[in-house]
Symmetry: C2
Subunit: 400 residues, 2 copies
């Protein structure tokens, strides 16, 4: 069970290289299933085409459009394997039996019917599966959102009972911090599902968070590795083995963050519900939420969103502000989030304090703080983010 991302299949040469890797595994006696993404920038190009037609394409039609990207990849990869003289078949999401709910562009896999898959493997074929896509109960094509091919790979691995799901990408594994920011960032040999989920959600984009969640629920081990060589990468699994003594295992950051502040919101029951349900209806993921009462009966509602969603969030909150008779809406999209992650944090008090200390030493102001059992996140000015990551990496002794 292997998965290849868009950069691994972005041109004919790379497609042929992936084909060689797969037939090698086949020759070693494995049943080979490969999940592939769309080639290189195909998905972005398709989105650009849609934008030329309309600024608000229906989500169902976006799925109809975007799912072609993976279909092109699987056909070409299957041709490359056939050209090497090996038996192969490509399967669309529909053909491979990936059933999802009906939430177009962000569908969730509900079930994988492995009948066809098992038949093809039984016939000795290498099976190439289109990532990112499925069908709902009404035969409608759905897609799984950015990075959805990871989830396809994990779901197929779970369905066929594969021991490990190999995610081949253009990095060597999961690092203690982004190696482009921190020179002595170290590749982790393994990481727990929970930690990986936090790292993925917090901006260390290696795996789609949903794929990690799916893997945890189904007990699938994920091996994140580089598609251009054979060295081991990072294992994502139930428990870390090697580095149990590490309290903090990594520093994540995300520069794609905007803060929205609704000032002087009437402080009565149901207001928060009204605000955040309206945002959810429009498909905006709200991350950190802080509510601070300044005086009696009014409160400031502050939250963070992906900066792509900031303009829409502004429109909606301004509407809400009028409806609720609240004050101004302030939006700041020059922010970044830095986070420390580690499952050991829960039993080690004082970790958050050391984080604040590191930021204070660098004279970096903290806008918002949010914590969970295994991470602490701070919103800071985007201009300080590299310095913050480097300081935290050093403070927790994560270097090689």
């Amino acid at each position: 069970m292997q998965k290849y991302g868009g950069s691994s299949v972005k041109d004919p040469e790379r497609i042929k290289r992936v084909a060689s890797r797969l037939v090698k595994a086949y020759d070693e006696g494995y049943s080979v299933i490969a999940v592939v993404s769309a080639m290189g920038d195909t998905t972005d190009e398709l989105i650009a085409k849609a934008r030329e037609i309309t600024s608000r394409p229906p989500r169902r039609e976006m799925d109809m459009l975007l799912s072609t990207g993976e279909q092109i990849s699987i056909a070409l990869l299957a041709m490359a394997i056939d050209a090497l003289g090996y038996p192969v078949v490509s399967l669309t999401g529909k053909q491979v039996g990936i059933r999802t709910d009906s939430v177009h562009t962000k569908a969730r896999i509900q079930h994988v019917d492995t009948t066809r898959l098992m038949k093809e493997l039984g016939a000795g074929r290498i099976v190439i599966v289109a990532g990112f896509q499925g069908v709902d109960d009404y035969d409608e094509i759905t897609t799984l959102g950015r990075g959805g091919s990871d989830t396809t790979a994990v779901a197929v691995a779970a369905a066929v009972g594969a021991e490990v799901c190999e995610i081949h990408t253009d990095v060597d594994g999961v690092y203690t911090a982004d190696p482009r920011v921190v020179k002595d960032a170290r590749k982790l040999a393994d990481i727990s599902y929970g930690e990986m989920l936090e790292m993925a959600s917090l901006g260390a984009v290696v795996l789609q968070p949903r794929s990690v969640e799916y893997a945890a629920n189904h007990g699938v081990r994920i091996h994140v590795r580089n598609s251009s060589h054979d060295k081991p990468g990072t294992l994502v699994q139930e428990e870390r083995c090697m580095e149990k003594d590490m309290v903090v295992i990594g520093v994540a950051h995300d520069t794609n963050v905007a803060k929205v502040a609704m000032l002087n919101v009437p402080d009565r029951p149901g207001v928060a519900y009204k605000i955040f349900s309206r945002l959810a209806e429009e498909g905006i993921n709200v991350d950190m939420i802080v509510q601070t009462s300044k005086e009696r009966q009014v409160t400031d509602m502050v939250f963070s969103v992906n900066s792509d969603d900031a303009p829409l969030a502004r429109t909606i909150t301004e509407e809400l502000s009028r409806e609720l008779d609240a004050g101004d809406v302030l939006v700041d999209d020059t922010l970044a989030k830095v986070s420390i992650v580690g499952a050991g944090m829960v039993s080690n008090p004082g970790v958050a304090a050391r984080m604040f200390e590191a930021l204070a030493e660098e004279n970096i102001n903290i806008e918002v703080i949010s914590t969970s059992e295994i991470k602490v996140s701070c919103l800071i000015a985007a201009e300080h983010v590299e310095r913050a990551v480097q300081a935290l990496h050093a403070k927790f002794g994560l270097g090689g």
Copy 2:
């Protein structure tokens, strides 16, 4: 029921124009179904991608690849209609219920299950159908060959009992000859199925021949018209109404012809079967066949093929020649075919003779002759083809 070819949807502007035409028909109270092809050169670009991977892509994977072209068109056209505020849904070949046989890249439609189509029309939606594609009984994606979207349109029209199937293209209709060759070529108001079939097969590429055959079998009238204006085009129907007195209705030509001659083939039963079944197995369509006995026990077997197939035809016939202990194989791909077409021909003797007269007057040598009830075709040197078409057009008084 309307069909739009690749040139009608080749860019966002044209897609929006097609959208406007469809909503106009919807506003006039029609149930609107549109079949669309892939945008502009998309299909050729996809074929080029496959060639970069392998010179012999498996046909099943070609279908997996090529069917994405139409899927992109239907999604974008549906987005454009949605942007105009009209209810719309796009459907793949699978979703629209187009069942075909399993002959990949040249599949034939066997059945159209209209359940989904009727449901969508019943819900008041404009339905956009992917041309060129279907699925076989094993849920495999198939394509219908070059021009297959015409056949999709006719098959869907037949299945829903549409009165007329409008084929929107970049020409005004069917002409008495190619207007680029003959200055006074005239647009025909109507043409019979049989005549259209001959015109289409003989190189006047307006409709896929299979679509005409399907229309004839199911009694669907086809209206070939220009997508850039509203003037009537040419009606393809059971009987010509307007021009019954015309013996010859058009001159077709095809410059994409090669002649293969197998010399001194042993003249014994089963030889022709052996030769032409082998060619058929390799997917080569043989057009005209002439067998001429020169002396006892040996014969020359001469036939024509599409010039794209000439290299493969040469390889196969050279193999056969060795097996059969025959003589040399000669291939000439500098030929063209000119044909006169008309259903009145069968009851008017001397039509063929007048054709030969016209060519003789121009000093054009005839290599091979082939006749049917409603056409006469001659193979001539490609360099003379324009002169031949002009002479025949004048000889039979077809000008405007």
